[in-house]
């Protein structure tokens, strides 16, 4: 699992020189929904997912530094990826009873994850004693103006987030189902 597309890094780096403040709300917002069934009790899965300050279950994350516990708008986490990239996120909603949390990315380089205005929700559901985890994301592509380069297109952002969720959910499943 990797957040980066190394072959294209040079092109992306050039594009990333466009100042972030100049980005308009241009293109269409994209959405991704991924689900996985886990053969473990929901409480066990929520014990992993529900700790916002620890994203060690997501492949590619080398270190999570969390502050503010699980308090919405106060809880923040800084992810340092295995490849050196950094993502900063804020918890926006936390529903203990509903076993669901939402967060947004405050800052990420489009070289790491080709998205803008990214927000996400993870929900743990009970399906007859087993668990279904749903991971949803809403975001704009990496390039916010017209005529994006391919690596910052709608398709590229959808693929990056879909791949991330699939790999993350598979890893979560393996961890939760381990004895």
């Amino acid at each position: 699992m990797s957040f980066v597309i190394p072959r294209r890094a040079l092109i992306v780096a050039a594009v990333a020189l466009i100042p972030a403040a100049a980005f308009a709300h241009g293109p269409s917002r994209q959405k991704v929904v991924e689900k996985i069934e886990i053969d473990a009790p929901p409480a066990k899965v929520w014990a992993i997912v529900g700790n916002f300050g620890d994203l060690s279950w997501l492949p590619g994350v080398a270190k999570t530094e969390g502050t503010g516990g699980n308090t919405p708008d106060q809880a923040k986490r800084k992810l340092t990826l295995a490849n050196g990239g950094v993502i900063e996120e804020t918890l926006t909603k936390y529903d203990e009873a509903g076993q669901s949390l939402s967060y947004k990315i405050d800052s990420v380089d489009v070289k790491i994850l080709p998205v803008n205005n990214y927000s996400s929700t993870i929900t743990v559901k009970d399906v007859g004693g087993k668990t279904e985890v749903e991971w949803k994301g809403a975001f704009y592509r990496g390039f916010m103006n017209n005529d994006p380069p391919p690596e910052l297109s709608d398709e590229a952002s959808l693929k990056a987030v879909t791949d991330l969720y699939k790999a993350g959910l598979a890893s979560l499943k393996a961890k939760a189902e381990a004895k």
């Binding site: 293109p27 994209q30 959405k31 909603k93 927000s119 949803k136 809403a138």
Partner: protein
């Protein structure tokens, strides 16, 4: 079928015209039964909507297709596409139905377009023109310059800028009350709604709402505001600006509309692909209708049916 529609013909409900950005079409929802009907192909990632006061026309902006579709609302047919040099986004129609006002999202201007002759006039708005509304008397057009944190007031006759009013951070949707006295704009980044006195051309106050507000509707002396991240509709008293309620709605709510009688609020949920109806008095959810994928309906999407 035929007989049934004849019998209910006298009491037809309003309709919602909902552009779906991801599925590239327009869903028409019968607001009486809360059932979706025809889905018209639109293309170009449609987002903005304005329905003429007489219910004859709907105008849909396609930011990525660079055109505005003119829809015969009764016949459910796209009459033509008006080419737009830029990214058409927020749209309003003049009360007499003879002019369109279209914001160029990635430019700096608002365009006035005659939908018949396609003749245009332009006025500079500022950074990231987004929501647009016209006063009920047709004299003023109000547009949000999102990235300038301002509302711009335009004299409709001369199509010239007459005032710029500083509001909250990133004003988006714009709504004007039935008397034409006040404008309301939802500030996405500062989580509040700026209330503007249009005669004085000044900010009255900012009313706090939920996270990432997008659209505002007015009914029963109250403002109903869709909060995209909070996934709620905030209700506040339009006179005192006192908060009244927070209503849980679907996922990523964006646009809010109101029935002609003021009794029902409608909210589009972009992520969950549906339109919910809410009783404006009890705040109860009274119905849900499926839309296409990614309903935006940025603008006044309720069509009066006679």
């Amino acid at each position: 079928m035929f007989l049934a529609s004849l019998l209910v013909g006298a009491a037809r409900a309003d309709e919602a015209f909902i552009p779906n950005q991801s599925s590239d079409d327009l869903t028409i929802v019968d607001l009486g039964a809360m059932t979706p009907g025809a889905a018209l192909p639109i293309g170009g990632k449609p987002a903005g909507i304005a329905v003429s006061r007489d219910g004859a026309r709907a105008y849909v902006t396609s930011p990525e297709g660079h055109f505005v579709s003119v829809v015969d609302a009764r016949a459910r047919r796209v009459l033509k596409r008006i080419a737009f040099d830029g990214q058409p986004f927020g749209v309003a129609v003049s009360p007499d139905g003879r002019r369109l006002y279209v914001a160029d999202m990635n430019g700096r201007e608002l365009l006035e377009i005659d939908p018949d002759s396609e003749k245009t006039r332009r006025v500079e708005i500022g950074a990231m023109p987004s929501g647009v509304a016209a006063t009920p008397d047709g004299r003023l057009v109000i547009a949000a310059a999102r990235d300038d944190n301002a509302l711009v007031v335009i004299d409709a006759e001369n199509f010239a800028r007459v005032a710029t009013i500083a509001v909250g951070r990133h004003p988006y949707g714009v709504t004007i009350d039935a008397s034409g006295r006040r404008a309301y704009t939802a500030n996405v980044e500062s989580d509040d709604v700026s209330v503007i006195d249009l005669a004085e051309r000044k900010l009255i106050a900012n009313a706090r709402v939920g996270s990432h507000p997008y659209g505002v509707a007015l009914a029963k002396g109250r403002a109903f505001v869709a909060n995209q991240y909070a996934e709620t509709v905030s209700v506040f008293d339009a006179a005192t600006l006192a908060p009244l309620a927070t209503i849980k709605v679907g996922e990523y709510p964006e646009s809010v509309g109101v029935s002609r009688d003021g009794g029902t609020i409608y909210v589009t949920n972009w992520f969950s692909n549906d339109l919910w109806s809410i009783d404006a008095e009890s705040y109860r959810i009274t119905g849900k209708a499926a839309t296409g994928d990614g309903p935006r309906a940025f603008g006044a999407f309720v069509r009066a049916v006679d």
